[in-house]
């Protein structure tokens, strides 16, 4: 009986759980340098009012999870925003650079902790967002191509950028 018990439990017990780790690809400073090389940054955090929050949700069709948004004004024009969206297990942190006229200059994935879907860091996929404005459709399988096998991450980043562009129109532009 003892050997039988060993037989039963060995497959599970011998599987050593690898330690989980969160990958930080870029710090805030690194993301700033990647999107706006050589520029200066002035912190300008925004706390949304309930009216602004509702307006952003209405304009983007995306729920606003946090009232406070980390924003930096870029020397020479433009905005640098750090944001997070829901991943399968944890939040995905990313940064978006907006030009002075509110179009996307670049996005960078800062932290990614998910088992699958890391392909969203691919430069070609992220390049689809360049030039998008609040008037863009920003819909998966429409003006943003999906990455098969990374659908949840693609959709949430797409929704997040759409929300940030509405945030620019309502809370930053004026």
């Amino acid at each position: 009986m003892k050997s039988e018990f060993v037989f039963i439990t060995l497959p599970a017990s011998a599987l050593i759980a690898p330690s989980a780790f969160a990958i930080q690809y870029l710090s805030v400073e690194q993301a700033q340098r990647a999107i706006f090389p050589g520029k200066s940054f002035t912190a300008a955090p925004v706390k949304l009012t309930s009216v602004q929050r509702k307006a952003i949700e209405q304009a983007s069709g995306v729920r606003v999870l946090h009232d406070e948004q980390q924003v930096w004004r870029v020397g020479g024009g433009g905005w640098f925003i750090v944001d997070e969206v829901v991943g399968k297990h944890e939040f995905i942190n990313y940064a978006a650079g907006l030009t002075a006229d509110g179009s996307v200059k670049q996005i960078e994935i800062m932290d990614y902790r998910e088992t699958y879907g890391g392909q969203i860091r691919d430069q070609k996929w992220r390049a689809q967002f360049v030039g998008k404005t609040s008037k863009s459709t920003l819909k998966l399988d429409s003006d943003i191509k999906n990455i098969s096998g990374a659908t949840l991450s693609c959709r949430h980043i797409t929704d997040g950028v759409k929300r940030l562009l509405a945030f620019y129109e309502i809370a930053l532009k004026h």
Partner: protein, 282 residues
């Protein structure tokens, strides 16, 4: 003994390179599939406890390796094992031999094809086909040579940025070779399962689920044997490379032929089920 250890080693060699996925429920499947060219391995341990009399513990071990052939199609192989501890289960509903022993269950295989993604389509839908060969039954470990196929359709609808997950599975099972463990050689069963899980904190889901099974010997819908409903909570924790789900399901309703009509069935079912699933990604 040497053969068993060698076989175990072979299994370990297979699973040690496997990547993991996760399941939020104990008895409910969602409509997601593994990304292409990824592996996963699960270890399920299910404990069925309690008959109408005596002491009954049926512990079932399922070691499963799964592979994403494409982003929409996955396939898996499972090894089934049991350990039974019965004492005094000898009433008017059932008469099991006193047992305290290991039984080799058999092998199962499955394939799952995702038609629609729960992450970008209005609803996620997947078709699943399972089949297997079982050498001992999972009630008392009696000898049999059961072959079965089980087609199933899985639905999944997500809400709140995919933090609220609703799943529904509907399936049927055709089984042959159930004698001598059971009275009849073949049986038709209908199965259903539904669950709702919410991600209440990063890495944590809490859910409730229900599952049911209806059995008809000889593939005859007029030949009712039993039906049962289980329900209960589940908790799920995940990390980047592994996850675990713990579920408790209680028999909330059961009815069996030739059993007292008191809202419980024990001939092939138990008072409660505990299931622990652990998945690994490499």
């Amino acid at each position: 003994m040497k053969m068993r250890l060698a076989f175990t080693a072979a299994i370990l060699c297979c699973v040690s390179v496997v990547r993991g996925d996760e399941q939020l429920f104990g008895f409910v499947r969602g409509a997601e599939t593994l990304p292409a060219h990824h592996w996963e391995v699960y270890q399920f341990v299910t404990l069925g406890e309690g008959k109408s009399e005596g002491t009954y513990y049926g512990t079932h071990f399922e070691t499963e390796a799964e592979y994403g052939v494409t982003d929409q199609f996955q396939a898996s192989l499972s090894l089934i094992q049991h350990y039974f501890h019965n004492k005094g289960v000898d009433g008017d509903r059932d008469a099991l031999d006193n047992t305290n022993a290991y039984r080799f269950g058999g092998f199962e295989g499955s394939a799952k094809y995702r038609l629609l993604s729960p992450f970008k389509d209005p609803i996620g839908i997947a078709l699943r086909l399972e089949g297997g060969y079982l050498f001992h039954d999972e009630v008392d470990g009696l000898d049999q040579h059961e072959r079965y196929i089980k087609p199933e359709i899985d639905f999944q609808k997500d809400f709140l940025e995919d933090r609220l997950i609703c799943s529904l599975d509907l399936g049927a099972e055709w089984a042959w070779g159930k004698q001598s463990a059971e009275q009849y050689p073949r049986e038709l069963s209908f199965e259903g399962a539904a669950g709702v899980a919410y991600r209440f904190a990063p890495n944590w889901y809490a859910g409730v689920e229900i599952h049911t099974r209806w059995e008809y010997p000889l593939f005859d819908l007029n030949n009712f044997e039993h039906r049962v409903f289980y329900a209960g909570p589940s908790i799920h924790y995940s990390q980047e490379r592994w996850w675990a789900t713990l579920t408790w399901n209680y028999q909330v309703y059961g009815k069996g032929v030739e059993e007292p009509a008191d809202g419980q069935t024990f001939a092939e079912e138990t008072r409660q089920l505990f299931r622990l699933k652990v998945g690994f990604n490499f």
